[in-house]
Amino acid sequence: MPTTIELEKIASQIRRDIVRMVHAVNSGHPGGSLGCTDYLVALYFKVMNHTAKPFDMDGKNQDLFFLSNGHISPVFYSVLARSGYFNVEELKTFRKLNSRLQGHPTTHEGLEGIRMSSGSLGQGLSVAIGAAQTKKLNNDNSLIYSLHGDGELQEGQIWEAAMYAAHNKIDNLISCIDYNQQQIDGSIQDVLDLGNLKDKWQAFGWQVLEMNGNKMEEILSTMETAKNLTGKGNPIMIIMKTEMGQGVDFMMGSHKWHGVAPNDEQLASALAQLEETIGDY
């Protein structure tokens, strides 16, 4: 099992991958990707029990992860490649013609590690719940994890799913909200305020935890707490505070880097802040 420091080193490499991938095609979503890097590294390199090869869509007796906010595909692709699902060299094809690494993740091109297409927001929680129910039907004690954007909570389907999960005691599901409080048009508070998120999820019958999603130690301990809360009749939601653009100073503290690629100069500046730890692709 990797240590916290080792996980942080992996996260640094993945942040390099993200800015390089987005820069190479001058498109993609670096802000949320950088913000969620630590969480996804924790999941794929420590928290989840999963098998990268051979990839099995059904994932029986494995923990499964669903990305609902599909636009943070750069971090998802890099984490999948770096954890062995496919060759890291393929990251070079991100968003290019004939690539398996589409702008938003899809099963359609047969990319190992992807179990559901996402991009159109609000759908992933329902999917995760369905997968969790099949785990139960199959007497499979593995867990389902899902990640959602905070802006995505403005979609009504999320709340349909929230109601259903509590009513049906989906207690093998650990969901997480990337609470960076930014969306494309500005801050969440300005665009459409989510109000008190903790109160909302609790009112919907979920067990709610909170954590700083950019502190590896805190992520690991919170995920451990969450695991211990499974099997007790409630779905679990983690409200994860992150900084959009985390790790690259000029991308932090604003919504402006949600879906903008860095230019050559900005890339150099970003890479200077991110240690190359495993080796660039």
Partner: protein
Amino acid sequence: MKKYTYTEKKDTRSGFGDGLTELGRENPNVVALCADLTGSLKMNQFEKENPDRFFQVGIAEANMIGIAAGMTIGGKIPFTGTFANFSTGRVYDQIRQSVAYSDKNVKICASHAGLTLGEDGATHQILEDIGLMKMLPGMTVINPCDYNQTKQATKAIANHKGPVYLRFGRPAVPVFMNEDFIIGKAITLNEGTDVSIFATGHLVWEAIQACEILEQKGINAEIINIHTIKPLDEKAILASANKTKCIVTAEEHMINGGLGDSIAQVISRNNPMPIEYVGVNDTFGESGTPAQLMEKYGLSADAIVKAAEKAISRKS
């Protein structure tokens, strides 16, 4: 012509319900989801026999489609049930992304399709669902014509890997089909030489009635049941059309985007000839009894007869 008779009328949704019940007994991977219309979809018996494999999702169709998509991961075969309008138009993006684009083995089963839903009116009478579903890459679209065929289709789609849209309805209609159902294989009900009538769903019985009227007029019509709109049995369609040299299509659906459109594509690419369309022409439905609505909107045996005569008159 070959005589088709019936001894009873039954609703096609009961064919779905009974097919699903049998599937529940035969295939442990079949699961069913319903959005607060269990009775309307005739899913009660499945629910009673398989409470652990039946999922009531409430009035939340988008969530139902997403859950169904997720349930396929791990090998379940989910059948979702609600009205056709809420099975398609309401959840188009969920089906598009989470089911079709994700290649998930979900069976979207839709009752109360078309005008024959009746008195509830246009909010519930979707006439665009075949078009919506057939445009999705990889989606199979099936519109059976009676109780027997709906039951057979329900069972057949469980063994078909991939997303399926199964469309059926509310009114009791003649039970007359005894032919085997194979996905994508058209069924010739009457061989003829003067006009090919391609009908789907509730219009198949009307086409048979039309055929009898045409026979009295000395017109020999070929009647083909196109239960599978996608993939379309192009071979059967062309074989018939090449023989009769003119076509009528008949469906309880909008002409735009329906079966007729699909057949016109095949014909225009291969052997252009006159086609007349029996369907709803770019308008919403309204309240009324099913019989009144079918009459008013021209979805009747008489309308098919007129269309056949017109198609024949246009032959060069």
